[in-house]
Symmetry: C2
Subunit: 164 residues, 2 copies
DNA sequence: CGCAGATAGTTTAATATTAAATAGTTGTGA
DNA sequence: TCACAACTATTTAATATTAAACTATCTGCG
């Protein structure tokens, strides 16, 4: 609700942009969440499967970085996916601290079934934006994310956020 | 991680914009959350106090709409704020179904203390964007939100999202 | 070698959030 | 008048998420 706050022009602009960004993201998230729930996956679970599909097997720590989630949360997500037989844990033999998580055939089939519909839903949700606007949105959000990451240097790894 | 998916140009662009939007919002949210936690407020609690400060007393349903939260959640948020003595519940005498939530003097003092720092933090987080970019970001996110709302007509009220 | 410190994953406790069921209130129409 | 539909708020049960404590493993240095 931008915005009943009175401040400098810069402040008001930043606040308005911030709030609007959040409302859009919130709305998008709840739509996606509802859609995926109906298919029997949480957003987190979907994220894990999608990452494994497109990036290949990963250890849990790497998954956590990709999905911006805590280690404990990843453990639970992988637990639940494992119970459903969609992923498998493999203890790394070279360094036994690591566990590689990989898609089972069932999991690969599942995410391949679900993913296209997810993309289609996103494309539909983004349909009100022109090509130029999509490009601008991405550019600005990237710049924003990068700006924040630089500011507060407490990332777990320096490379993961800037690459890809 | 935009994006290892191969599709039409339109699909890839929509997906990239979507993912980047989310990562930015996620990062912003976790920063804000950490900052507010340190001050003894959750994001939800802050949202309630801020809404009451800038919009005046509201019933719980209206709060839920503003904050995009469920009724049950609002009940809990208000419970916790009430325990801290920051808000008060007043049963509407004309229509006893409604409960008006309003800031206590303590609550007003508290949110007035916390809000400027919050704004400052947001301005800092948005600092990497130019004035033009802030305007563009707001415009695009608004358009996006509006586009989604139109598509799926299941809003509780029609006016709340478009106004203010 | 052997221990100190770092790192990966798990567990635990607390909190937030939602959906669904429930209780109380209002207004309407037979 | 009264039964019923609509609506507000609360409760309940389930799930997601985090932070912090903990276990297991590895690496490097004395």
């Amino acid at each position: 609700m931008p915005s009943h706050y009175r401040g400098t022009e810069r402040e008001v602009r930043a606040l308005n942009a911030y709030i609007t960004l959040f409302r859009a993201a919130d709305t998008l998230a709840s739509r996606s969440s509802a859609r995926l729930d109906a298919l029997g996956l949480t957003i987190g679970q979907f994220g894990v499967l999608e990452a494994l599909l497109h990036l290949g097997p990963l250890c849990q720590r790497a998954l956590g970085e990709k999905l911006l989630r805590t280690g404990g949360n990843i453990t639970l997500l992988v637990d639940n996916l494992e119970k459903q037989g969609l992923v498998r844990r493999v203890r790394d033999t070279a360094d036994r601290r690591y566990i590689t998580v990989l898609l089972t055939p069932k999991g690969k089939k599942r995410i391949r079934q679900v993913f296209p519909g997810h993309v289609a839903a996103i494309v539909r949700q983004m349909a009100s934006l022109s090509r130029t606007e999509l490009k601008a949105l991405r550019r600005i959000c990237r710049k924003l994310g990068r700006g924040i990451a630089e500011k507060t240097n407490r990332e777990t790894t320096h490379d993961s956020s800037s690459s890809q």
